[in-house]
């Protein structure tokens, strides 16, 4: 599978080696890190949860699409699940290609599609003790939504 879920630290060194190819003149990677703030709130840690069966299928489909759309050699995406601390690596995308332009474009395509399509969810735990599922709390917006977090 060219999309993988892992529960421990992503080993970018080993993943990168899988992309080596005599026909490749370059390699582009993207690392998504856990940030200490989001939309004005201080974040203490994150929790990622995946619907593994479908996440791996959809992720692999996205990488296949990138391989069809762009003249690249290899591509791979690894996503972490579970509890992550600030600064930890949440997602890694690597692409090798004969020329750099296609590698940048394919890498961008993969991370953008993964964020929009793969069934992975992120729960932010804030410094103030509150917590919430990203994209799921505010959009639940009934008029009196401010206290929707109290279900947790």
């Amino acid at each position: 599978m060219r999309f993988r879920l892992v529960q421990t630290a992503i080993d970018t060194g080993t993943s990168r080696l899988e992309l080596l190819d005599g026909g490749a003149g370059g390699y582009v990677s993207f690392e998504g890190w856990v940030r200490d703030h989001n939309e004005g709130r201080a974040v203490r840690r994150l929790e990622y949860e995946a619907f593994a069966d479908l996440a791996v299928k959809e992720g692999d489909l996205i990488v296949s699409e990138a391989l069809e759309r762009f003249p690249i050699q290899h591509a791979l995406c690894v996503h972490r699940t579970g509890e992550l601390a600030i600064g930890e690596l949440a997602v890694w995308v690597g692409v090798s290609s004969a020329h750099r332009g296609e590698a940048f474009a394919a890498c961008r395509y993969i991370i953008d599609e993964v964020k929009h399509r793969v069934p992975i969810w992120k729960k932010e735990h804030y410094r103030d003790g509150d917590s919430g599922w990203v994209n799921c709390e505010r959009c639940a917006a009934a008029p009196a939504h401010e206290h929707a977090h109290d279900v947790i």
């Binding site: 997602v91 069934p119 969810w121 799921c136």
Partner: protein, 79 residues
């Protein structure tokens, strides 16, 4: 018929469980969701979700068969 339902993320927390087997007269994912939405008081509406049947994305009006496994998919936030 019997259906297996798996819950993730905000729906898992609101349902208070990760999975269950339900007995229902509903024949489409849309009708199953209506029943569960009412039972658990989910804050997300169907329009905000996608649905998967047997680990494949599905449309809401597909005719279900006994033993199918359903997952309602809240807005995703990977990366």
């Amino acid at each position: 018929m019997q259906l297996k339902i798996q819950y993730y993320a905000i729906l898992r927390e609101q349902a208070g469980r990760s999975e269950e087997t339900i007995e229902t007269l509903a024949t489409t994912p849309a009708d199953v969701f209506l029943q569960l939405h009412s039972r658990y008081g989910f804050t997300l509406d169907r329009e905000q979700l996608k649905v998967a049947v047997n680990s494949e994305f599905s449309d809401w009006t597909r005719t279900l068969r006994s033993g199918d496994a359903l997952v309602f998919i809240p807005p995703v936030a990977g990366g």
